[in-house]
Symmetry: C2
Subunit: 285 residues, 2 copies
């Protein structure tokens, strides 16, 4: 049987308890949509992985690109249909160590590559839009870790644990100073009078690959884009609001439950639809 | 052969990659000194574990105390000498999950209990005192996670990666606003005119078991103790400085390399020595 999980290129399902990813969250991950055998935005994911690894003192081998490509080939069925979609998750950890935060330079990293089913969304949130809520959990301001998709994700875990209602598909989170940052698993954009806005993520948050692509598309298509620090009340004035990540692509937001009384709603607008089309043309849908 | 590692009571060495401790750092740990078969400050460690688990939505089974006791009995040789010292590490994670931050309530936790050699310190830092440095890495202000010994430890990893000189035994870290907080693996105390001081750890840091015991001892022995927010320059005025954790007990600090020019030094004083003796009488040495 074809494996769905490789650890350092071998079919395994478990990792030593001594792994520093488990002990300290000393590692990174990437979540990539696969269309047939084609990983979406492969180069962008690899570049983010490398940039994050550098910041976390995780020495990637020179041949990491080839190793990951090889892993993908091993995991993929040879005749995968181009319409079949799967999720590829890559996790890189600083490898196995003893007790203590200091790293032994000679210890190799651990490379975990995993294929899983693409989630099914029968209610078609990309078309219908979603209801969100505003979370109480705040993101700490931590410029040293900001932007990186690292394995220290307790803030997201706590934010996501705030609700269980299945009709609420995502939660928006603020930073410790009350500025809008992102969703628990997605990045946030909104539009007002034809201008696109997204929070700057230099103090906390994850700089998503689709967010990055939307920022580039805005420039290509001459859509003015402002990144900065904004409080949640700007959303009330927005014409369109949407969330994005590598698996959902773009989900329009039609409502945000901020308090019992204050629950702004939005229509799904032309900029959101245009960006969905532009991304879909690149295999991001 | 007697196992040195138990996962959920069984002799294993590896954990499924799907464990949420690895994926998100959704877990906690305790590091406990064992004197012979006697775990030091067992109840205090258990209480901290339970309090942290509650804050991280990790449902501990009602019989967690007995399970951990049973694990310890399984790991310990029946005739362990009372003078043999070992380190017991307990890690509890939120168990195995699929992709996504939401938790399936029915998933059991994972319980990892590990016995390892007590570190040897041939230079006897508890007697001789140690040299420390001031780290550049700052602790983010995150009251929701403050005090908990959770598995999101990238800040400690980054702080510890700042130096490699073996004669520097620990680094002091400030919070994002520049207040003294702790060591990378230890808590910080200092004395001035017979008064003991330690940083308040309600915004970041780990509330150590030995720190907690020293705070209680100060009260028992009528030593005035101030907890609060202090900038690093207060250390310059201190009469004595020391660090503590469950394995090192108390290490006096005789020097801190703050900058190339500014490297205050201290003598090892009577309050440090008294506290070392009081703790040693409780098996903490």
């Amino acid at each position: 049987m074809r494996p769905s999980l490789l650890i350092n290129g071998l079919s395994e399902h478990t990792l030593p308890v001594a792994d520093r990813g488990l002990a300290y969250g000393h590692g990174l991950f990437e979540t990539i949509a696969l269309n047939g055998s084609e990983p979406t935005a492969w180069q962008a994911h690899l570049e983010r992985l490398k940039a994050g690894a550098k910041r976390l003192h995780i020495p990637l081998p020179d041949n990491i690109d080839q190793s990951l490509q090889q892993d993908l080939q091993t995991l993929l069925a040879p005749q995968v249909s181009p319409t079949q979609r799967q999720v590829l998750k890559i996790t890189i950890t600083r490898g196995c160590g003893g007790r203590g935060y200091a790293v032994d330079d000679t210890v190799p990293i651990n490379r975990i590559v995993q294929l899983s089913e693409f989630p099914s969304y029968p209610d078609n949130p990309a078309q219908q839009g979603i209801t969100t809520r505003l979370c109480q959990t705040r993101l700490a301001i931590a410029p040293q870790l900001a932007g990186i998709k690292h394995l220290n994700r307790l803030e997201q875990v706590l934010a996501r644990a705030e609700w269980s209602a299945t009709d609420i598909r995502e939660g928006l989170v603020l930073d410790a100073e009350g500025y809008l940052m992102e969703g628990t698993m997605s990045n946030l954009f909104w539009c007002k009078n034809g201008v696109l806005y997204t929070p700057s993520l230099d103090r906390c948050g994850v700089k998503g690959i689709v967010r990055q692509r939307i920022i580039a598309l805005a420039e290509e298509k001459n859509i003015t884009l402002h990144t900065g620090l904004f409080t949640a009340d700007v959303l009330q004035q927005a014409d369109e609001v949407f969330l994005c990540n590598s698996i959902i692509a773009i989900w329009p937001v039609i409502k945000c439950i901020m308090t019992d009384q204050y629950q702004p709603e939005w229509s799904i607008g032309p900029i959101t639809r245009d960006l969905q089309s532009l991304l879909a043309a690149e295999g991001i849908f």
